[in-house]
């Protein structure tokens, strides 16, 4: 039994499906985030001993790391949908990519903001060109580049495809950019492995952090699908199915 994926590729078919999924993802996200916060704030130690002693401000990790992971994951999703759109020429994939970009940019900004606020107490400055934060900053420029290019072109068809190509070129360049930032001096390249990789974090902190990540992940599904439905409506306005959807929903 081969599933005809292209059946779902038509915006008309996907619109109602997305509509049903949004509330479900929204509720799951809310639940996960609340559990993660409660766990992180009340059930864990106030201060961290061990190799990297930190005071209460370490709790910013519950937001900073999930946001950073989500920003990188959403860029992969953005580049993935762009590639699918260019190869299969399906309009829905381009709409999906356009729907992902703003949420990804927001998470990147959040990662930078929370990273700076965490850096101040622990390193003494808001910004010290730490390789991870600098890579986030450049990822932020890639998102802004995608959004700016897409909005600068009026013809939606060319805008989709040009921004998609930019996302793919960006994806190819990301490892090279991250290499050049994490290891500016190839002679002694100690900085490549992160100072505190997730493995070394205490379990009782790792669990809430992962729950928060899942919460933000399910939140981004809901946000992206909501934006996608608006994009589908604007772009398919002159199709027949939109008029009866409008009639039904405008009155509801």
């Amino acid at each position: 039994m081969t599933i005809n994926w292209f059946k779902f590729a038509s915006p008309a078919a996907f619109y109602p499906i997305a509509g049903r999924l949004i509330p479900w993802f929204g509720r799951v996200a809310l639940a996960l985030v609340l559990i993660g916060l409660f766990w992180g704030f009340f059930l864990t130690a106030d201060q961290l001993g061990g190799s990297n002693p930190q005071k209460e401000y370490y709790r910013i990790i519950y937001v900073h790391v999930p946001a950073a992971w989500m920003s990188m994951w959403l860029y992969l999703v953005l580049a993935g949908w762009s590639a699918i759109g260019l190869v299969f020429n399906t309009r829905l994939s381009f709409m999906m990519a356009k729907a992902v970009a703003p949420t990804g940019a927001i998470f990147t900004f959040l990662a930078l903001w929370t990273g700076a606020l965490w850096g101040r107490p622990s390193w003494g400055t808001y910004w010290d060109w730490d390789p991870r934060l600098t890579s986030e900053l450049l990822l932020f420029f890639l998102y802004i580049g995608y959004i700016a290019l897409h909005s600068a072109i009026d013809d939606t068809r060319r805008a989709d495809r040009a921004a998609a190509l930019l996302a793919i070129v960006g994806l190819v360049m990301v490892p090279v950019i991250f290499l050049s930032i994490n290891c500016p001096d190839p002679n002694q390249c100690a900085a490549l492995h992160q100072r505190s990789d997730p493995g070394s974090i205490h379990l009782s902190i790792l669990i809430p952090m992962l729950t928060m990540t899942l919460g933000l992940w399910s939140y981004s599904f809901a946000a992206v699908f909501a934006r996608l439905r608006t994009i589908i409506l604007t772009r398919e306005a002159d199709h027949a199915w939109v008029s009866d959807v409008i009639a039904k929903e405008a009155t509801a």
């Binding site: 020429n89 009026d154 013809d155 939606t156 068809r157 306005a237 002159d238």
Partner: protein, 232 residues
């Protein structure tokens, strides 16, 4: 000129378009458009402004990717042929496609080397003089008038050996005798077995071969063809 009497039977099918659909932005311009262009045929595309004539021509020459349907050149989809199809094609858009800082001679020499049939200088000079530009060959084209610039671009029609011509409003900005010359060139192209697809608002008399009229924007059957009044 002896008008060769050949019945335009569709022996050698050149271009075959089947249920083509094109969209401009979010507006669907035309859909389920099918027509064949056999050898020795002139396709005269007509329609109001905005009915998608230019979009159709750009889709036919591969510049624009159609939303649906297929375009085949001698049985092969043009997307697979890519460069080979380009070699058999000469496209003439709204812009002249010549560099203002280069002379007429240089423009044509570069155009022919890029089309991979480098012609020697005096063939180019002959083409330029036939088009009515002798004495202007080695003048930078920015000094020429709008009509003369168009003639330099038209000189490529003389030099080209491409079997398929796609011309978008070729007659604009041309004076009377340039129009006659262009009509003669098109008639020669069709007579020697080539096909021409063009959009224009005036008639194009042929010495032989068939004329197909393709009107866009009408709900009725867009394709109607009639043979020229030639004796055969």
């Amino acid at each position: 000129m002896v008008s060769r009497c050949s019945h335009p039977q569709p022996n050698l099918l050149m271009l075959d378009v089947s249920d083509l659909a094109c969209r401009r932005g979010e507006r669907l311009l035309f859909s389920d458009l099918s027509f064949q262009v056999p050898a020795e045929t002139l396709v005269h595309v007509r329609g109001r402004n905005g009915s998608g004539k230019t979009t159709l021509l750009r889709a036919l020459c591969g510049l624009l990717r159609a939303d649906a349907g297929s375009i085949r050149w001698r049985g092969e989809p043009i997307r697979d042929l890519a460069e080979d199809y380009n070699r058999d094609l000469l496209y003439f858009g709204h812009l002249n496609g010549i560099k203002a800082d280069l002379t007429g001679l240089e423009n044509l020499r570069i155009a022919s080397t890029l089309d991979q049939d480098p012609t020697d200088a005096d063939a180019i000079v002959a083409a330029l003089s036939r088009i009515g530009l002798e004495g202007f060959e080695d003048l930078p084209t920015r000094m020429l008038s709008q009509g003369q610039k168009k003639r330099v671009a038209l000189a490529r029609l003389i030099l080209s050996k491409a079997p398929l011509w796609i011309l978008d409003e070729p007659f604009t900005a041309l004076d009377v005798d340039a129009v006659d010359l262009l009509q003669q060139l098109i008639a020669e192209q069709v007579a020697r077995g080539g096909s021409v697809i063009l959009t224009t608002h005036q008639e194009v008399p042929l010495t032989s071969g068939a004329i197909q009229r393709l009107t866009l924007g009408e709900a009725s059957d867009p394709v109607s063809s009639e043979n020229t009044e030639s004796s055969c």
